[in-house]
């Protein structure tokens, strides 16, 4: 009985995987939002979603705070959207045949403001991630104005055209600077990390290219390789109060090598197909997820917590 199942189910599965790529096309909308102008940015989003869908994309990933711009300061309450707002409804309506991950300030019922991304799919809001790690140092001041999220949850991509489901996780910019966040999502089976970002360029000393671009190059490649998953990094471009956002949006494959064509700091849409077969190959070559010792992590975490509780 068991043998029979293997023969009828498993063998054709492998054959199909080798001959029929099971993937989807991501469009990375590397744009320059207008600071504090939600109405103008919303129209731009709707245009881009339409354009990307027409070009064959299954999901459009926008940068962090793509509806509002980044250095908002006291503008935060003015640009905030509630999940039942007209703007969110219009985006949902535009996402019947294509999915989109959009950045915005999301206001809660108790007047907290999150730096959030909303995943639209099938004409509705399918997932929300509120940024957990709000940078408040150097040029960043997010904790003054924003409330932190408290969870990292994976979600299904409803990628029309793909035969099997894809598991995704969203990390907003600074979230990715905390490996624990990436590890938590990986543990939930994430195959594609979607990383909307508003990363300001800084550091121009020779040998480092642009310092921040260098950091993200290392991080996106490292996480992709260590978690044998795709990293879809969408950064914004443009300037706010003299601070440049450097773009460089990219898709890194599950072997740690960038697969999309490199882009600079111009407004553009990066299209890239993500393949289940590439995930499979990487996970055969490097079965790191299979070998991950969650029992050890959990036991050690428990021990650390107990010791802390015991003083």
């Amino acid at each position: 009985m068991i043998v029979q199942q293997r023969e009828t189910a498993a063998v054709p599965e492998v054959a199909r995987a080798q001959t029929e790529p099971d993937g989807f096309v991501a469009a990375l909308a590397q744009l320059s939002p207008r600071l504090g102008n939600v109405a103008a940015n919303l129209e731009r989003h709707l245009e881009i979603i339409g354009e990307a869908a027409g070009a064959g994309a299954n999901i459009v990933v926008f940068p962090e705070l793509s509806l509002t711009g980044y250095f908002l300061k006291d503008l935060v309450p003015d640009v905030a959207l509630r999940i039942d707002s007209d703007e969110i409804s219009r985006l949902a309506a535009a996402c019947r045949d294509v999915d989109a991950l959009v950045g915005c300030v999301l206001e809660t019922d108790d007047s907290r403001f999150h730096n959030a991304v909303v995943y639209f799919s099938g004409g509705r809001v399918a997932h929300v991630h509120a940024k957990v790690y709000l940078p408040t140092y150097g040029i960043f001041d997010e904790q003054r104005y924003l409330a932190a999220g408290d969870r990292f949850r994976s979600f299904d991509l409803t990628t029309r055209g793909a035969r099997s489901r894809w598991r995704a996780g969203a990390l907003i910019c600074e979230d990715m600077w905390h490996p624990s966040a990436v590890a938590l999502l990986a543990r939930q089976g994430v195959e594609a990390f979607l990383v909307p970002s508003s990363s300001p360029g800084r550091g121009v000393l020779r040998g480092a290219a642009l310092g921040t671009a260098n950091s993200y190059d290392v991080m996106t490649r490292t996480y992709a390789q260590l978690f044998t998953a795709y990293v879809v990094y969408c950064n914004r471009v443009g300037y706010e109060d003299g601070i440049a956002f450097w773009g460089g949006s990219r898709v890194v494959g599950p072997d740690g090598a960038p697969v999309s064509d490199p882009v600079g700091a111009e407004e553009t849409i990066v299209y890239q197909r993500l393949e289940k077969t590439a995930l499979r190959r990487a996970r055969i070559a490097y079965p790191l997820l299979r070998d991950e010792r969650h029992d050890v992590t959990d036991a050690e975490t428990d021990r650390i917590l107990r010791r802390r509780a015991g003083g």
Binding site: L35, N37, K73, G238, Y239
Partner: protein
């Protein structure tokens, strides 16, 4: 165990920038910040010095020379070479600076204040020049580009509401030696790159003499203190003269007021720049 020698620690090599990256950042900055407020052009005071020459070059590359209005504003004691150098830089981009002498109005004012020393005269000239740039910015429907570098801004070596004023400053985050490096990378005329830096407010004025500091050293001290967040003791341990480091630290602190908007006395619930905080590029 003695520490491993690190010759680069006190060397200006530590400040070496990737010129292509900086050019892209600064040209993009000029283009973006000018265009998004609905302007196409800029006005720049072109003294013939390396700072303003670099700004002219960057603006021409960013906006096209037809959108750049350089203005040379000599006083009767200004050196002839300064105007020649300003012309030479502009000529590289096929434009000519407007010449707006300031001798008449400066002399008319100081005829009533004959006892004024060089500081007052220098400040007055710097502010006179800035009022001209802002006036011409209306005529040309342009923004005024600033030409103060990071070294001057941090040391407070500039005139408040004079040369320190501007709508946009593309080079305010570059130390003086980095300005030279960028000037070389962009092919500024050799004399602009090799003559002694001077505000040219009086005959024979020299930045380094007036400051009592050499840019090649003070830049590295500032870089270690500010950019790398090293303590005074760490910087001294890197081989810099303790008195020099103390002098730099003192100057930075003493000139903080020059880098901030005027202080507003708080009386209301919401005060500009204290608890009324909006980005400058609000809605752009």
């Amino acid at each position: 165990m003695s520490p491993t020698p690190r010759p680069i620690a006190s060397s200006v090599d530590a400040l070496e920038v990737d010129a292509a990256v900086v050019e892209e950042l600064l040209c993009g900055f000029i283009r973006d910040e000018v265009h998004k407020v609905g302007f196409e052009s800029v006005v720049v005071g072109a003294s013939g010095g390396v700072d303003s020459s670099l700004v002219v070059a960057l603006a021409c590359r960013a906006l096209g020379p037809e959108h750049v209005y350089p203005v040379n504003m000599p006083y009767r004691t200004s050196s002839v070479e300064s105007e020649e150098d300003a012309r030479a830089v502009c000529a590289q981009y096929g434009i000519e600076p407007a010449i707006e002498g300031i001798t008449e109005q400066i002399d008319a004012y100081f005829a009533r204040h004959a006892d004024a020393g060089v500081t007052r005269r220098g400040n007055k000239m710097a502010r006179e020049r800035m009022t001209i740039l802002y006036d011409l910015s209306v005529e040309h429907r342009s923004l005024v580009l600033g030409t103060s570098n990071k070294t001057e801004l941090l040391l407070g070596y500039g005139t408040l509401f004079g040369d320190m004023a501007s709508a946009l400053n593309p080079i305010g985050d570059l130390y003086k030696m980095q300005v030279y490096a960028m000037g070389r990378a962009l092919g500024l005329p050799e004399r602009v790159l090799t003559k002694a830096p001077s505000a040219d407010l009086w005959v024979g004025q020299s930045d380094e003499e007036e400051l009592g500091l050499r840019y090649a050293i003070v830049d590295v001290v500032l870089f270690r203190l500010i950019d790398e967040r090293r303590s005074r003791a760490e910087v001294v341990a890197m081989g810099f003269d303790a008195d020099l480091v103390d002098d730099v630290v003192r100057r930075v602190r003493a000139s903080q007021y020059k880098r901030r908007p005027p202080v507003i006395a708080k009386v209301s619930e919401r005060t500009i720049d204290r608890d009324f905080r909006y980005p400058r590029d609000w809605g752009l």
